[in-house]
Symmetry: C2
């Protein structure tokens, strides 16, 4: 069995060209910057606007990183889709390329679906991919997907696919759910990544594998430092620093705010573009965000 | 300007092969059966499990009907997708082929999105399709998509694209919303299709264009009769008959129930297959459904 990925992963935001297409070169460059600050690449996630990208565009982004020589052991692309053929195709490519894992949403169109239906979805995904190297990280994000992934479903999947079901990103925002996951599956080789760094230190103290967080796009080094130094005396102070920066971003719509910060500190206004149904920050929001970040001493070194 | 489609449309359920693929020949056959009972083809909708199909599979279903010589003037394929490139590609093909219209969901992954973001989504869809013949029917189904399409957004879209924005399928299940649509846009050439035949007679009396309903898959002739005879003395009695049959289906999970009925009356068990996350009816549910339908004198003539 390969070693499981640990640490901080960034759900890399996606740069768009003026014509609306994905700017692959800029995307690769951003991934390298993130890696230079110690974080891995959970690209094609919610913050990446992955569901606003066509299956072809998603595949091209996986290929672009591989072509650029980025180590697949640092990669956990989001390969979930409401339709199984697309999820299978993307997940198979990632597994064959040696990616650390894939992050898979449940099918999120129908609401109120049964655990039996979700079990069949993930079973068909794993069996149709047909790669022993596949490592599935379940993506639990009920505030957005509405369809969640409960503990009984996870246990059933782990019983059936102990090698393939590797962990979860818990973006419930509910620490009690994260704690329940950590406790119930602690002897099952199941990696729990809280979906926000506000639960990072708490999580690590209870056995979390790291975290996958929106703000790892903009504050990677500081978040990674908590992961590296969580057993030291200054860990609580470091965590407080993370919470302050997170708080500033959370006062704005998160995805446009991340892109606005990257645009500002890179000097590349094109970074602020988002795809519909998202909308860029307006001037007032932009000013507030940048002023609050600067007042907190925030910057993005090496981005320009 | 081409004449707008009116009448009853069926969101055609999708037949699957044993290997899980779409059974195109069976799909075309079912569409012909539906047309022989007077209803049009709103295929690739919610009841069609369209979001459980890959973009390629959806395109193949459009092409299969065109290749079979089905009149595109009877077709309103669902071409919505969270990602614009897919929605544009499917919608463009439908418009170029002369389809009566396309039924388009809003992007449904992100929740709590702004009207500005949804306006941009539909604007980019219409402008990127770039076909004067495109007729967009907005698909309002908040119980499933969660993201709805409000009246102010519709007005803004109609002001900007009076030719392309052709109407709405209102699957809110809220008669007051349907009535508000009918009243506010009655002079704008905007066709309102309630998403259930329980509102058919009421809707026609207030200017609705027909309806697009799950149960038009199984009870097409009777539903179409209400459309044809709504101004006659027996209209209320006919509507009561529709409501009784609808009620029987609504006591089960709708999509598997539709397929189970088709399997039963066609004698083709393969029809009962659904894709995850949906699950077939169990034996008890199947027995209850068929017994209740038979007791009500229901049948599906000409299907076998």
């Amino acid at each position: 069995m390969t070693e499981r990925i640990r640490g901080i992963l960034s759900p890399v935001v996606t740069p768009f060209r003026e014509n609306g297409g994905v700017h692959l070169e800029k995307f690769v460059r951003q991934c390298r910057w993130l890696q230079s600050h110690g974080v891995g690449l959970a690209f094609l996630g919610t913050n990446s606007e992955a569901n606003s990208l066509s299956p072809e565009e998603r595949m091209e982004m996986i290929e672009a990183l591989l072509d650029a020589g980025v180590n697949p052991a640092a990669m956990m692309p989001g390969t979930g889709a409401c339709d199984l053929p697309t999820a299978v195709r993307l997940s198979r490519r990632a597994a064959q390329a040696g990616c650390a894992g894939v992050l898979t949403l449940p099918p999120f169109y129908y609401k109120g679906v049964s655990d039996e239906g979700l079990f069949r979805y993930f079973s068909e995904l794993i069996e149709n991919v047909g790669e022993a190297a596949l490592r599935v990280y379940l993506y639990h994000i009920p505030p957005v997907a509405q369809v969640g992934i409960g503990l009984d479903l996870i246990e059933r999947l782990l019983d059936r696919y102990p090698e393939n079901i590797a962990g979860i990103k818990d973006s419930s925002g509910d620490w009690n759910n994260t704690l329940a996951l950590l406790e119930r599956f602690k002897d099952r080789g199941f990696s729990v990544f809280p979906g926000s760094e506000v639960f990072l230190l708490q999580g690590l103290r209870h056995g979390a594998a790291g975290c996958i967080s929106a703000t790892a796009n903009v504050n990677p080094a500081a978040i990674n430092r908590v992961f590296e130094e969580w057993e030291t005396a200054q860990a609580d102070d470091l965590q407080k620093g993370l919470d302050q920066i997170r708080g500033i971003f959370q006062r704005q719509p998160m995805i446009p705010a991340l892109k606005t910060a990257i645009a500002h500190w890179s000097g590349d206004e094109e970074w602020s573009r988002v795809r519909p149904p998202l909308v860029e920050l307006d001037t007032r929001q932009t000013t507030q965000l940048i002023e609050e970040l600067e007042a907190a001493g925030f910057s993005m070194p090496g981005l320009r």
